[in-house]
Symmetry: C2
Subunit: 147 residues, 2 copies
DNA sequence: GTCATATACTTAACATGTTAAATTGTAAAG
DNA sequence: CTTTACAATTTAACATGTTAAGTATATGAC
């Protein structure tokens, strides 16, 4: 005799599946915009976080952008080479570094944000402004609750 | 004179950022369970979809599991080698294949699901059963609305 | 039938993610 | 001071994701 089969939800109705599907749907129209700006999704996340925070150390940056340390290292190498990000020694800690947006990086953010903002306003039109804000609040609440 | 700066939300409060953060929080405790079962997150998605659907062609599988075709090819090669999945020619179409879970694959699903189910019930305890169902419904509604 | 076009993958090439180990510097204890 | 433990990256090695090109088969027009 075997254990009774667990009744798994169909994947797309599961919590993880719903989150992934929603994210894909949201990002699908945005990725081409990022490609046009010459940045990958992860590079965009890094730039966004730098835009939010100002000069910041790499560990905090990695956590905020939901990336691993080695990914941040690689991404920053590229962004610094392209003069989108400025890297300085951390005066408080000889091991670490502080990075921030360059003028060009700020310009890229503003230019690209003007495109993504249009897409976001399309989402609010299709789904409802309040409803979307509520959904985001619930996502945040879930994230906090289960951590 | 420059264009007025767009007011971008902090990344973690953005729609894409909230979705990614929530997904990470949800998956964090589950990934070790999958690792113990010897499957990656993507392999697990494939197995889940096969469990949902029964025998299925690769294109439908890829779409359902939110994976690219080449990823599915590689993942299936591994799962078939490990006897978790059975691959057959598609009788209706000489180009394609049909895959389905093997006995071992079904057993792995059941065994692993019994662990992940425990984690999910923890989530429902922490966040509320109705509230979580509602959130999933809203995610699905968003996905549908913006596609 | 045969040609053109489309479909279902697969292969290959490269970017990125992920984990573990190495490097460099800090900090606290003795 | 020096030793020890720890912290902030970086490097290296490998898995996986992603795009583009290739292969084989199907489908429809003629």
């Amino acid at each position: 005799m075997t254990a009774p089969p667990k009744k798994l939800l169909p994947y797309r109705q599961s919590l993880a599946g719903s989150l992934l599907a929603a994210r894909e749907a949201v990002m699908a129209p945005i990725r081409p915009m990022l490609a046009e700006a010459g940045v990958t999704e992860q590079q965009w996340r890094v730039l966004r976080v730098l835009n939010d925070s100002g000069p910041i150390d790499l560990k905090t940056l990695a956590e905020s952008a939901l990336l691993f340390g080695p990914s941040v290292t690689r991404i920053l190498k590229d962004l610094v080479e392209r003069d989108l990000v400025v890297r300085q020694a951390n005066p408080k800690d000889g091991r670490g570094a502080i990075v921030s947006l360059s003028i060009r990086g700020k310009a890229l953010i503003q230019e690209t944000a003007s495109h993504t903002a249009r897409q976001l306003s399309l989402y609010t039109r299709k789904f409802g402004d309040k409803r979307l804000k509520k959904l985001i609040a619930e996502l945040k609440a879930l994230t906090t609750a289960i951590q």
